[in-house]
């Protein structure tokens, strides 16, 4: 599993190809964790592309945390719930995010920034 460089591409189609090859290499190198993470990343990318088309906002460079954070802040709770299920987000983590939603609903944006 030496092919870590393949994460560095920026064009989306190239990125997909290199992610797939990374995943292959991880499996070949018996790095289960790496393979699993790459699978998640591929899935996240697909979801983010969908979101970009639907919401006219950029998501692709973001981590799962940032993606969820953005969705909750802009009140797209259903979409966030969907990701939560797909990525088996722990209840503890979700608990923190729900607080974000609550803050956003009440319009406490200064507190949000400090979060």
């Amino acid at each position: 599993c030496h092919i870590h460089n393949s994460f560095d591409t920026f064009r989306s189609d190239e990125r997909l190809i290199s992610l797939h090859s990374a995943q292959e290499n991880f499996s070949r190198g018996r790095d289960d964790f790496g393979a699993k993470m790459t699978e998640e990343q591929l899935y996240l990318l697909a979801e983010q592309n969908k979101l970009e088309q639907e919401l006219d906002e950029s998501f692709v460079e973001k981590s799962l945390h940032d993606t969820m954070y953005n969705l909750l802040k802009t009140n797209h709770i259903k979409r966030a719930e969907h990701l939560r299920k797909q990525f088996k987000v722990s209840d503890k983590r979700w608990g923190w995010w729900v607080r974000i939603t609550a803050l956003a609903e009440q319009g406490h944006f200064t507190e949000l920034e400090a979060f």
């Binding site: 790496g34 993470m37 790459t38 996240l44 981590s63 799962l64 940032d66 503890k92 995010w97």
Partner: protein
């Protein structure tokens, strides 16, 4: 010049003088007027060796930073590029030369490589088609810079990463070179000790270099009795624990480089010119040249306030003396002391401001929470489970380096994570910070900062046998080196302390648990005869001088702990040499994927 460098047990100023001489010799090769074009990473370093006024005397008319743009116009005969052997910089140099040749082609071009001439760089210059335009290519072996009367640094920030991640041993070769240079200056060091990955190979390189050098007579009496090499990988705990000394905290919060640190300007605004706001950061030089800083630097931060108060009192008392001055002679004496007093007052103001800034930082909840989590880990509390505070930081997306620091400390104090805990942390880390940090985590695993359980390392045994945890620390009048972290004694410095007394044989078992080989041997059987290069303490028996060389970086708190040991009346003195200074942030940052 820098007389404060010569006040230690060994005259460190000699190293600076030699570097100075070498630099001037190099510059004298180019007769006539010169412009120096600087790799910006080197300017501060070289200013510690030679001031601009000195360079001017040697015909340096202009100085420019090395950039991609065209050089400013000048009528000098020589353009001298002073650069590290970094390929990317060769592009800039070639561009500069080409642009300059388009103008008038009357100039001569030279390169001075610091600290060594690289074949690859020369190859690159050939490829870029400017090799022929260069008259001289020199090498300036700046392998050690004297930062203070007891500190030599190679100022090589990438050593730990190069050796442990890139597996590039160049830095180790340079370390051996540096030790050889020290031996040339102060005599062959009779006893060699070392702990950690690289110490064995460095020792054998040092011995080889001594033989190759040949002409040295063996009966050269050394001013240094012992060399102790500590590879950073032998003690990765210490840099992860927050430094609580004055200088250490300045480094943690603002970062010190080449003896200077930059502070937010607002604090240092003088009321007289308050209308034009300072926007540039305030740069302050921190060395023992400043008497007050020399007193403060090694103090636990809790002792800084009282020291500042005492100083303020003594200054105002001195000012009061003017009332008691009656005769003309007394008045004259008072006036002659004015400049010193004014300087002391200015220094007091500076350090009061810095201390206030640091206080604001240490009073924050996040700082206190992080500190108490570290204390828990050091005490072995809850290290085997997922830590709620770290989890909470991950969920709130706290600064990545802060989280990593705690993660690594928990890992090392737990002798590695259980597989489940490790996977959980890694997964949550990636969910928060992004997929690319899979690479970050891999690098941390590669150098052993994060790992699964297994191996011979046992924190609990090491901590107990070396007494790393000390209760009831008196921060104002410390009795033990553990004061530098308010209760944790740096492992590395305990090793140095035990080496001096009662010797490493007493901790054989522990040395086997600490990662990396142990070196303990005699290099040369020669009775040491002492002549002091600097101020000698007459009457007292000569002290035993140990040079501790940190490979992969030293923290300011560690240096303070060694100074504390030097200050004890048991006849042991310590000198520090290091590849560079580090703290948790600078250790971990290079591994973070950007």
């Amino acid at each position: 010049s820098a007389p404060y460098l010569s006040t230690g047990c060994v005259n460190i100023g000699l190293i600076r003088e030699e570097s100075r001489r070498e630099l001037l010799q190099l510059l004298d090769k180019f007769h006539g007027s010169k412009a120096l074009v600087w790799d910006s990473a080197l300017t501060e370093q070289i200013s510690l060796i030679a001031e601009y006024s000195l360079l001017k005397e040697r015909g340096v008319d202009r100085m420019f930073p090395l950039r991609g743009s065209r050089l400013p116009k000048s009528s000098v005969q020589h353009v001298v590029f002073v650069t590290r052997p970094v390929l990317a910089l060769m592009d800039l140099i070639a561009h500069n030369i080409k642009k300059e040749e388009e103008g008038d082609g009357r100039k001569e071009y030279h390169i001075i490589f610091v600290p060594w001439k690289s074949f690859l760089c020369i190859q690159k210059l050939e490829d870029l088609g400017v090799f022929g335009a260069l008259t001289h290519m020199e090498e300036y072996r700046l392998d050690l810079i004297a930062l203070d009367s007891d500190i030599l640094s190679m100022e090589n920030p990438s050593c730990f990463y190069d050796v442990n991640i890139d597996e590039d041993g160049t830095s180790l070769y340079l370390v051996a070179k540096a030790i050889t240079r020290i031996q040339k200056q102060y005599g062959r060091i009779p006893m060699l000790y070392g702990k950690g990955k690289s110490c064995k190979s460095i020792c054998s390189l040092v011995q080889k270099m001594w033989i190759e050098q040949g002409d040295q007579s063996e009966d050269d009496h050394s001013q240094i009795d012992r060399l102790l090499i500590i590879d950073r990988t032998a003690d990765l705990i210490t840099p992860l624990v927050t430094q609580l000394t004055y200088e250490g905290l300045i480094d943690e919060v603002y970062g010190i480089s080449n003896t200077g640190a930059s502070f937010p300007p607002e604090k240092f605004q003088t009321s007289s010119k308050s209308d034009d706001l300072m926007t540039e950061k305030k740069k302050i030089i921190l060395t023992s040249k400043d008497d007050l800083f020399a007193q403060l630097r090694d103090c636990n931060f809790n002792a800084v306030g009282p020291t500042l108060k005492k100083e303020a009192k003594s200054i105002s008392e001195k000012y009061e003396e003017r009332h008691s001055a009656k005769t003309v002679g007394e008045m004259k004496q008072f006036v002659s002391q004015m400049p010193q007093m004014q300087q002391a007052k200015a220094s007091l103001a500076v350090h009061t401001n810095i201390a206030e800034l640091i206080k604001e930082y240490t009073d924050e909840d996040d700082f206190m929470d992080s500190l108490s989590t570290q204390q828990d880990f050091l005490n072995g509390i809850g290290t085997d489970k997922v830590n709620p505070y770290i989890e909470n930081c991950l969920f709130r997306k706290q600064p990545l380096l802060k989280v990593l620091r705690l993660l690594c400390l928990q890992c090392i104090t737990n002798n590695g994570f259980k597989p489940k805990v490790l996977e959980y942390y890694k997964h949550e880390f990636i969910q928060t910070y992004g997929y690319k940090h899979l690479i970050t985590l891999n690098k941390l695993e590669k150098c052993g900062l994060i790992r699964a359980q297994g191996g011979q390392w046992n924190y609990n045994t090491v901590q107990k046998s070396l007494r790393l945890l000390v209760e009831d620390i008196n921060e104002k009048e410390p009795q033990d080196i553990a004061y530098v972290h308010s209760g944790y004694a740096p492992l590395s410095i305990r090793l140095a302390q035990i080496l001096s007394h009662p010797g490493w044989r007493s901790i054989d078992e522990v040395l086997r648990i600490i990662p990396g080989p142990t070196v303990s041997g005699i290099q040369q059987f020669k009775p040491k005869k002492k002549w002091q290069g600097s101020v000698s303490s007459e009457g007292s028996s000569p002290s035993v001088v140990t040079l501790v060389f940190f490979v992969g970086g030293v923290t300011y708190a560690e240096v303070s702990a060694l100074r504390f040991l030097s200050g004890k009346p048991d006849g042991n003195e310590y000198l520090v040499a290091t590849t560079n200074f580090i703290n948790a942030n600078s250790l971990l940052k290079p591994m973070v994927e950007t």
